[in-house]
């Protein structure tokens, strides 16, 4: 790696290739962590760029917290490498890493007040009294905790504790901030407000955030990219939109958001269009995905809000030309959710589709009711074809 003959680095004399692309801030390379026979994290590789807001999303027990704890240094990987700025940090102890963590239960020190909690990491960094006070005041202003400096954690509300924990973790200006379910303990309203604040804060500071969450809405709202984990493996790494509109597998499609899954087989393909015989549905048209699928059994995934309902159905020439899928059925259930309504349509062929319609008018005299015959129609573009 380094030139042994020259002690002073000279970029011109160096025989190392000039790196055209910046190295990622964090590189996780083939990391495996086992607890007994169970692999919590299994051969996982991931690059995270500097300044990114990255979310690790997965059901509980998928290994996302173990991965986070390895980044913080509380667990050591069995195999694989974790590099920060190109340096292997496997042997670096937690207190020596330029990484800070915000714990799920906040882990505020109960015997210290807000100011001393935030200043704790600065004191260990050897800052002077004055330096600590200045930085603490900055952090207090950043998370809007003015006037609460003298309070102890048990005199704070849940939202205030969350802010103290955030300020404490940010006070040392870490290169990487790890957040373990940071909003799980807040109620829904406060959680949504805090999500927005957290995003604004991250953009303002430019710190790289890695957040662990089981709440997909949280991940979708905040993150630049999401890594979906299941059983210790990364299933897909993508932007929120890609993840939702182009899930890589049936598992992800079902895990992220609501979706209708129709199993079937390909009966015909011409150029990019597939004709599919869907089980309990009938003939469907869909667009061939970028990764071509074989003739194996496939499934067609369609989001409930991508389906439209009407009493008469679309024009027959649209259907006959394959420009629109139309399925006939009867409304079997209606769920009113305020902004939208969820309908269940029992198709004549046997399958049930879930359809979400926005309630755009206050007095909707045209709303569908149970037992009504409808046509459910959707464009082939809106179908995602997935391998079983």
């Amino acid at each position: 790696m380094t030139n042994l003959t020259a002690t002073v680095a000279d970029p011109a004399a160096s025989d190392a290739p000039v790196i055209a692309y910046p190295t990622p801030l964090l590189r996780i390379d083939g990391v495996t962590k086992k607890f007994g026979a169970h692999s919590a994290v299994n051969d996982l590789s991931l690059d995270i760029k500097a300044g990114e807001f990255f979310a690790l999303l997965g059901p509980s027990g998928c290994g996302k917290t173990t991965l986070l704890r390895m980044l913080a240094g509380f667990e050591a990987p069995d195999t694989g490498k974790i590099e920060l700025n190109g340096e292997d940090i496997a042997a670096v102890l937690p207190h020596q890493r330029p990484v800070n963590m915000m714990f799920q239960n906040y882990a505020l020190f109960p015997h210290l007040n807000v100011r001393d909690n935030i200043g704790f990491g600065l004191k260990s960094a050897g800052l002077t009294r004055l330096g600590i006070d200045t930085r603490v005041a900055e952090m207090v202003a950043l998370v809007k905790l003015q006037g609460l400096e003298k309070r102890r954690p048990d005199q704070l509300s849940g939202g205030q504790k969350q802010r103290v924990a955030l300020a404490r973790a940010l006070a040392r200006h870490p290169q990487l901030l790890l957040l373990d379910e940071p909003l799980a303990a807040l109620d829904k309203k406060l959680r949504e407000e805090t999500q927005v604040e957290l995003m604004a804060l991250q953009r303002q500071l430019g710190t790289t955030f890695v957040i662990v969450t089981h709440d997909q809405e949280e991940a979708m709202t905040m993150a630049d990219r999401i890594g979906v984990m299941n059983e210790g493996r990364l299933q897909q790494v993508a932007t929120p939109r890609q993840l939702y509109e182009a899930p890589a597998s049936r598992w992800i499609a079902e895990f992220v958001g609501d979706i209708n899954i129709i199993e079937g087989g390909i009966t015909h393909r011409d150029s990019h269009r597939l004709t599919i015989a869907g089980r309990d549905v009938g003939t469907l048209f869909a667009i061939e995905p970028r990764q071509p699928v074989g003739d194996a059994v496939i499934c067609v995934a369609i989001r409930p809000e991508k389906i439209r309902l009407s009493r008469r159905g679309p024009a027959t020439d649209l259907i006959n030309s394959g420009a629109m899928n139309s399925l006939e059925g009867v409304i079997s259930d209606v769920g009113y959710l305020g902004g939208r309504s969820l309908y269940k349509v029992k198709l004549d062929r046997g399958a049930t589709l879930r359809v979400a319609l926005a309630n755009t008018a206050r007095l909707d005299v045209d709303a569908y009711s149970i037992g009504e015959r409808v046509a459910a129609w959707f464009a082939p573009d809106d179908c995602v074809v997935l391998v079983q």
């Binding site: 102890l93 207190h95 990484v99 963590m101 714990f103 882990a107 109960p110 260990s124 960094a125 102890r152």
Partner: protein, 271 residues
């Protein structure tokens, strides 16, 4: 804080009074008779403090009290040190093999009859040819009391979130400094309570001390016991009253310490 005062029923008042009388009547009688002017223990001869004066002039009794105090302080301190370390090892080292066996073995002395503990220590000291006296009694009392300290400290430690120490490490403290900065202040009330418990247990012990002490180094309970065998002198009442008073002060101090620390945002020690 407008908590409605709980009204006690007649039954509750009666049972409370009877219970307290059962517990404290003997001590009250002892205290009253310590101020008895008469030489006869059972005959009231008017108020006097002469038995207190007598005690403070009784060289042998004062020596025994001083011995007890020294044994108590040294053994309580050693027991607190060892018991706290044991408690930390047992709560923090959750993964190590034989942890259940270890904690079982640590707690066995709690239920071990004192006669057996005393006898086994005596055999050990004889086998080691250790001259019996202050050192042997102190070691014996440390053995007796460290498991009590371990229990008290362990229950407190178990209630402390492990992630607090991790947070301290994450914020730049090495494991030892993280422990000192975060865990130690939080378990401090339990350590103090453990020390006081160990101290009073040591002060109170007769059985183990009489097995492990040697000539010329009697503790106060041994001294009192041997005096009583020759007949109860009113001076004994005075000494016992002083001991009761001393222990009462220690207990009040202990609860004040734990109240103060809980008022500062920590929960009270489990005692």
């Amino acid at each position: 804080m407008a908590v409605h005062p709980l009204r006690l029923s007649r039954f509750n008042v009666t049972s409370l009074v009877l219970g307290l009388a059962f517990l404290y009547l003997p001590i009250v009688i002892l205290v009253i008779y310590s101020f008895n002017a008469s030489r006869l223990v059972t005959v009231w001869g008017g108020w006097s403090t002469r038995w207190y004066t007598e005690f403070f002039n009784d060289r042998a009794m004062l020596d025994a009290a001083w011995m007890s105090l020294r044994v108590g302080v040294v053994s309580a301190t050693l027991a607190t040190l060892l018991g706290t370390l044991a408690a930390i090892a047992l709560t923090r080292g959750a993964g190590f093999r034989g942890r259940m066996l270890m904690s079982g073995m640590l707690y066995a002395p709690l239920v071990m009859p004192e006669v057996i503990t005393g006898l086994s220590l005596l055999l050990l000291f004889v086998a080691l040819d250790a001259g019996r006296g202050f050192v042997t009694v102190t070691i014996a009392h440390t053995t007796l009391t460290m498991c009590f300290v371990a229990v008290v400290v362990q229950s407190r430690l178990a209630g402390i979130d492990r992630s607090l120490e991790e947070a301290a490490m994450d914020l730049g403290r090495d494991p030892l400094r993280a422990f000192i900065a975060v865990t130690l202040p939080l378990i401090w009330p339990a350590i103090a309570a453990g020390w006081m418990l160990a101290f009073t247990l040591s002060l109170d012990d007769l059985v183990i001390a009489s097995f492990t002490t040697g000539p010329g180094s009697a503790t106060l309970p041994i001294r009192i016991y041997s005096e009583v065998r020759l007949g109860v002198k009113p001076e004994i009442n005075a000494i016992c009253t002083l001991i009761v008073g001393f222990i009462a002060v220690v207990i009040v101090l202990a609860s004040l310490v734990s109240k103060l620390s809980s008022a500062r945002g920590e929960s009270a020690a489990p005692l």
